[in-house]
């Protein structure tokens, strides 16, 4: 069953019933609103917009401003994006540096005491997904969200496998199939929120129970979408520490 996706306006209205100062320009989300006696900063991408060099730097700039302020306010990264913007100009000017810079800014904010929470409410894919939602401490999603690494027709082109065979395999093989359920099974998405209940308390609870360490591989094992990653990483680390 596919559910209708929640819109950004609905999300903001639910998070900030008393109003907010979050705006969208060129598909980029930025601003804040009152939250739990303080404020919640919001950045992100709306409207299935591809993330290019200017967008990545603009979002990173907001994150670094937050770190500079020292307020330790939580940062919500709301994502309904396309993949990275695919163009000659973006790559010429160093898209890999710009996307990595955005991810690093979010990881730095986390280290400086800003709880970072991803909220996936639409599409996201590939480099845009890694630089935004996957760079947060905890990633939640709303039903109807549709993350992917690559859509199945493109996978079919690259792997030279027939599309109908891939579609059949996708039903039983979570590790490569697109979609929210499969990304949750891989441990990339921690929790799926209830769109019918107010989002504020749900985000507050996520912040109150932030995982201490990166436990995505443990979730992947528990949920069966990434059966061996946790054990492989732990074995390698154990062998190297034992030296």
């Amino acid at each position: 069953m596919t559910r209708a996706k929640t819109t950004l306006a609905e999300i903001l209205a639910s998070l900030f019933p008393g109003g907010h100062a979050v705006t969208v320009a060129n598909g980029l989300i930025a601003g804040d609103g009152p939250f739990e006696g303080g404020r919640l900063r919001v950045i992100g991408i709306d409207g299935d917009t591809p993330l290019g060099i200017e967008g990545a730097l603009a979002l990173a700039g907001h994150v670094l401003d937050a770190v500079r302020s020292g307020d330790r306010a939580p940062i919500l990264v709301a994502v309904d994006s396309d993949s990275q913007r695919m163009s000659r100009r973006d790559e010429l000017l160093g898209l890999n540096e710009c996307l990595a810079h955005l991810a690093k800014a979010l990881l730095l904010a986390d280290r400086h005491g800003h709880p970072t929470v991803g909220l996936l409410y639409g599409h996201s894919a590939a480099g845009a997904f890694i630089a935004t939602a996957l760079a947060t401490r905890v990633l939640a999603a709303l039903p109807g969200a549709n993350p992917s690494v690559m859509d199945l027709p493109s996978v079919a082109r690259v792997t030279k496998l027939p599309l109908d065979k891939l579609q059949e395999m996708a039903k039983s093989t979570q590790v490569f199939a697109p979609g929210l359920d499969n990304m949750r099974a891989a441990g990339a998405v921690h929790a799926v929120l209830d769109p019918a209940a107010p989002l504020g308390p749900q985000i507050r609870d996520l912040i109150a129970t932030l995982p201490e360490r990166d436990g995505r591989d443990r979730l992947g094992r528990e949920r069966g979408g990434r059966p061996v990653a946790e054990e492989i990483a732990a074995t390698v680390a154990g062998q190297l520490r034992g030296r």
Binding site: L92, L93, E97, A100, L107, A126, V149, V175, G225, P227
Partner: protein, 304 residues
């Protein structure tokens, strides 16, 4: 005999294991989860694809000119060096161990097309885990240095991992980008990017362009010895991971966009950077190129 091998061995042509053997002090490498443990991909058989005993990445500890280092080397010829579940988890385990063990550096011999599509969700998540672990290692004072000059280049999530490293060394053959030429052409058409135009690929994503604009910190001849020398230099001069560094990187990248955002081709950027004869850059030998780089202030910085 490591000395002569190191001078002669082409980084581009060598396998991941050959690179490590020649890069490190002779006999110093100890592999973690080596091939005899046969921790292969649990997923490739579903696609009727052959597996590799090490899943395309060699990880472990060694010594570089007397310094204890952790290393990971991707095999670009197996599945394009792409990140699958086991492959990615081995890198993540190595990086997490580095946070506690604090080696003198972690060297990442990147050679990858990005995510292995047959294990896409596992590969994508592992790249995110690796980037978090790189940041934690850097914040713990361990430099993470990327060495890029392999057949598969450094694409997709590999390009983001490269951008997370403290320092990068690249050779002429080491292409770094997010979307590869074929991906851009497939999605946007040959007018946007003609992936068969090899000169265009090298100008846009190749090692010389990355070095000239400051996307990499060292340019190497295509030998293991050159990468070893660069790695030693970069380890000794790695930027901290802190707010100052990232603010400087924000300013650096914004200045690049402001200054070169209207350029159509790499040669336009090189001309504006102050390179006397931009058209001569692709054919320049390493000493001449080094000489050119030395005059450009954009190329050398601590903003990464």
């Amino acid at each position: 005999m490591a000395g002569p091998d190191r001078d002669r061995l082409s980084w581009y042509e060598a396998s991941a294991r050959q690179r490590l053997d020649a890069l490190l002090d002779p006999g110093s490498f100890t592999e973690a989860l080596g091939p005899a443990e046969r921790r292969m991909s649990p997923h490739l058989p579903l696609f009727d694809l052959p597996r590799a005993f090490d899943d395309g990445i060699v990880v472990g500890a060694g010594v570089l000119d007397g310094k204890a280092v952790f290393v990971a080397a991707q095999e670009g010829r197996f599945m394009g060096g792409a990140f699958g579940e086991v492959h990615g988890a081995k890198l993540v385990g190595l990086l997490r161990a580095a946070v506690a063990a604090k080696p003198a550096a972690v060297l990442l011999l990147l050679d990858t097309g990005g995510v292995r599509l047959q294990e896409a969700n596992a590969g994508e998540t592992a790249i995110a885990e690796a980037m978090r672990a790189i940041v934690e290692a850097r914040a713990a004072g361990v430099p993470v240095v990327g060495l890029i000059g392999g057949r598969a280049g450094c694409f997709g999530g590999g390009g983001l991992i490269a951008g997370t490293c403290s320092r990068l060394a690249v050779s002429e053959g080491g292409r770094i980008s997010v979307s590869g030429p074929e991906v851009i052409e497939t999605n946007k058409g040959a007018e946007e990017f003609d992936s068969r135009d090899r000169a265009l690929v090298w100008r846009t994503m190749g090692g010389k362009h990355r070095r000239l604009i400051g996307g990499a910190d060292a340019f190497c001849a295509d030998t293991v010895a050159a990468f070893r020398e660069a790695a030693l230099r970069l380890i000794a001069d790695a930027p901290a991971f802190d707010l100052d560094t990232l603010v400087a990187e924000q300013d650096r990248l914004q200045a690049r966009l402001d200054r070169f955002g209207d350029c159509r081709d790499a040669t336009d950027i090189w001309a504006r950077l102050g390179v006397n004869d931009p058209d001569a850059v692709p054919a320049m030998d390493t000493p001449a190129f080094e000489e050119t780089v030395a005059h450009l202030r954009e190329a050398t910085h601590d903003a990464r």
